[in-house]
Symmetry: D2
Subunit: 330 residues, 4 copies
């Protein structure tokens, strides 16, 4: 249940009053709105106590209530040391798929920063389909990534795979990333809900819009509202020419349902570099508030996923077109 | 097998020479290229006769050979009385879902023409999921549609459902449309292959890229090369918030494989008018060479699919943004 | 709206009374039940006239009303010259994919009859993905098929692709078959609705259960209630090891919703002969009332789909196991 | 690369010889077979040293080599205190979805044991779509589950969600279960690879057969070969009448590719109790070597997923039919 109260103070009062009635289910307050998780009706006594302070009671809301626009109508804006994410802002996140060496990540960072990126991506822990594929450089990768981000005055975003690594990764990164395969790793989401750092949450390979919102809610319920949702292509019956199917409709649909920033990853959607640019532009035209892209100066020798990496030059061209499309759809 | 010959004349000669060897499988010639359907190797005798005229033999091609860029490298450009479709051109096709009355289709046509559309869409034969839903106004609809298109100097495009109606529809329309449910109605495709009029072929609900190219080939094999392929959203596991999932990646993928114009239908993909504009812009940003959109001045009372229709004003705004995006991605 | 009346006579009376009120939407009567297509409520006048004859009014029914168990609670049993299909009966339909020659279809028919099949399948018009693949032997195929069926005292079932061929095919076959690609070829379904012969309707590649029931309703609405629904595998994201994904759950789900016989085609689902038997047994264990299987005595040289054909010996073993499973699930 | 050696001793010798050549990629030996992860060719020197001991070199194998029948041709048989799983054995695993109370799990265990189950299932940590749904009773649940299993002389299987809980769960359970949402939680799979206890690995919601085999390989690569693969329904475009689509073809397909036991969960596939029995029977007829089913004596008041639970009586009937089908398909 979401209650729209007459004022901030009323909302606070209603929340306190209802909190002790229901020791298990959490109560959230945002501005003049109160969200009661899992509650469908108020008792007569409860209603009697609070009705003079209420404007409207919404009951047909999504189970992901903190994530809902009904609870939080205005866009969430996330501020990191070097970026502002969400609302009318557009954020470029780019970098190599995996951190290969200190020099390489810095060179890639330099290239993407020159094109307008403010967030440097890179993987130290890699979720690979086969246990025999390169699994990432681990803490050495985190260190190199951090050093490059510091040197370039960029934000660092990196993937976290294991609840046992949360503090380690936290000691390096600016932004956590939860990958497709862990979108419903609820233990990990809960652990990140206890951190006060932004989390990029990638949509699962066959996650519905509702699944994604509920996964975000696991983070939000823990107290962390700095969530960025990422569309990265879904699994469909056709995967001969692209790795996944970029679901551009998810972008405006999510924006209508939630206040969190919605960004896109065209690299994993395409899986082939020649299709990354048109897919990225499509995502931007559909309203994405940011884009994550993999780049590599020597794709043929990339440690991971070279086939889908843009070269620094291709990325620069893409960034220019993105700016023009952003202008066009204003 | 596709053979690149040294000249047009060589190609012609090779085709004639190989034709009689293989009485069943067709041989096609385009410029200096020869396509041999279903042929993997030449006999030694054949090779001996033609090898001096050959530049290259391509064998790893798609089974849809006339549709392939290997056979026909340059974009196909289709000219109708009022439109040029394909290549660097962009074509707006719009109108009501179904032809409701002579006055209505003309009013809708006037509105979309003012916004830049040159093709007036509208259905007289409607493929409805239930037999008890409105099935279209039939020939009366065709007549009203033709009259409006003539009055407005626009092209008419309308759907054909039955091989028995091919001549009837042909006597009215400028462009045939084959719908999603009939993409593999091979009898219908063969019948349209005998006509010398453009055909808009919509991708089937779960058709792969290869299925779509092979369906186009049924038309092309009959002798009709005026084919326009349309991405209109595919069926995936998630259909709560949109009717289908617009597969924007199909646009650049198809453009890399075939020379036919690729257009998009954002209305059926979205299923809800508020998502039509972002999806349409995404398709254009991904490179679509045209867009088909449903409009209605009173969506709540449309005979069919009102929920996904844009109003004339919304369509005008969309058309303006499309022009800007076209400029941005040049 | 489905009305349960107090008696057959009441149902007839209600139907006549309501029929003239609604000249467009059809009214159907079965036993003591009346179905009003597309009607949600009765007017007060109508209700007044008929309420004394009514037991119950059902409004939350499926749009496919003639196909619904709410309208027709008992199983439909279809009688052909040599088979009884539906209810507690189990029908084996088998034969070659395509009719290759008179001698071949007769030899295959002999083999499957010996194993218990009463319906001889075979294609004269083949819906092939590519226009350059073998398209079937046409009327010559129909003739050979008919001759074999007559000689063996079996029923003939064959696929129909084109509305223009309905009378031709009708002049040969006992049972029409509508293939996956034509499940929503509504013109064809309407044409078959005018015939008084059983129709096997195969589920479309990505048809929902509701789509299939509505497609059946196109046939039923025309007056032909001899419908057999066939699950044959759907298209999913995984098609590396099998051609399609046999949706066994469709069998009990359909049986709960409709009264028509539900049969399965394990050959097209598997696409590989070694998986046909386990899938066929699964379908039978799930309650299928019949099975269609492709057989060939020389699969490597079959004109079409040899990879998925069982040999006559494999078919005999399968038929034996089916009988045991039918016994087990009684 | 998989090498078939002339003898056990040869295999051992080849493995030792090749091991030091490749310090990163693991080498596995089973009987007379050697698997070299990620190796495509032997160097000339290597080949020279070992060729006299080799029968055959297989290179076109799956990346999941320990899981492959090419490496381990005979079925893996897993022995737990009260069950033998795999090969020609059939194992019934049943119990409540979540552990509700000590008395309840024991009562349910008693009922399923009477029907032939040897493994008692039950969840103490529940992966729920929403953070506000009941998350399981945690360690108290494990304790009650263990006590019931001990009292009834059954095996205990329970789901593990978090790498940090591996030792805790290990101290109670006989068999670990990895759920659908964690099939590619590689950190968890690696942790379980270090344990010497069976793991039931459920197929991910949109996992391909290859994804599932590679996930199993994460466990196997760590040294734990006691793996049981579970088909539990995949996500497709149609989910109106069932929760998921049971992919029965996965059962024979997996059995042809891997030596691990393949079991099915019809409860989560169906999502509705009335369809559990036909789906379970279908899985058994397709060759499943075991079945996991949820039961509840009062489904309407189950803490989790009551809608899909069988009652003890329904389970008994199912178990009887399963025995008959096992007999039929022998």
């Amino acid at each position: 249940m979401i209650i729209i109260a007459k004022s901030k103070e009323s909302a606070q009062h209603i929340a306190e009053m209802l909190d002790h009635q229901n020791p298990i289910k959490p109560v959230f307050v945002h501005d003049n709105r109160v969200a009661l998780a899992g509650v469908k009706t108020l008792s007569e006594t409860e209603l009697h106590e609070v009705k003079s302070e209420i404007v409207e009671i919404i009951t047909n809301h999504h189970s992901a209530i903190k994530s809902s626009r009904d609870f939080h109508p205005e866009d969430t804006i996330i501020k990191t040391p070097h970026s502002v994410i969400g609302g009318q802002h557009f954020t470029l996140m780019a970098g190599p798929d995996s951190i290969e060496s200190p020099a390489h990540v810095e060179a890639m960072g330099k290239a993407v920063k020159a094109a307008g990126a403010t967030v440097l991506r890179g993987g130290a822990f890699k979720p690979r389909t086969s246990p025999y594929s390169f699994q990432g450089n681990g803490e050495a990768g985190l260190k190199a990534h951090r050093a490059a981000a510091d040197a370039l005055e960029m934000d660092m975003v990196t993937e976290i795979l294991d609840t046992r690594d949360v503090d380690l990764v936290d000691s390096y990164t600016d932004i956590f990333q939860v990958g497709t395969r862990n979108m419903q790793n609820f233990a990990l989401l809960k652990a990140l809900g206890k951190k006060q750092k932004p989390v990029v949450l990638k949509r699962g390979m066959s996650a519905t819009i509702d699944d994604l919102l509920n996964a975000a809610e696991y983070i939000a319920a823990g107290g962390n509202d700095q969530i960025i949702l990422m569309e990265r292509g879904i699994r469909t019956y056709d995967n001969k020419y692209t790795r996944n199917t970029l679901d551009v409709s998810a972008i405006p649909v999510l924006q209508s349902l939630t206040h969190y920033p919605i960004v896109a990853d065209a690299s994993h959607a395409a899986g082939v570099s020649k299709f990354v640019t048109p897919l990225a532009l499509a995502a931007v035209a559909a309203g994405a508030q940011g884009l994550m892209t993999e780049i590599h100066d020597d794709p043929a020798h990339a440690f991971v996923d070279g086939a889908q990496a843009l070269t620094p030059d291709e990325f620069k061209l893409l960034a220019d077109k993105i700016r023009q499309i952003r202008e066009a759809i204003k």
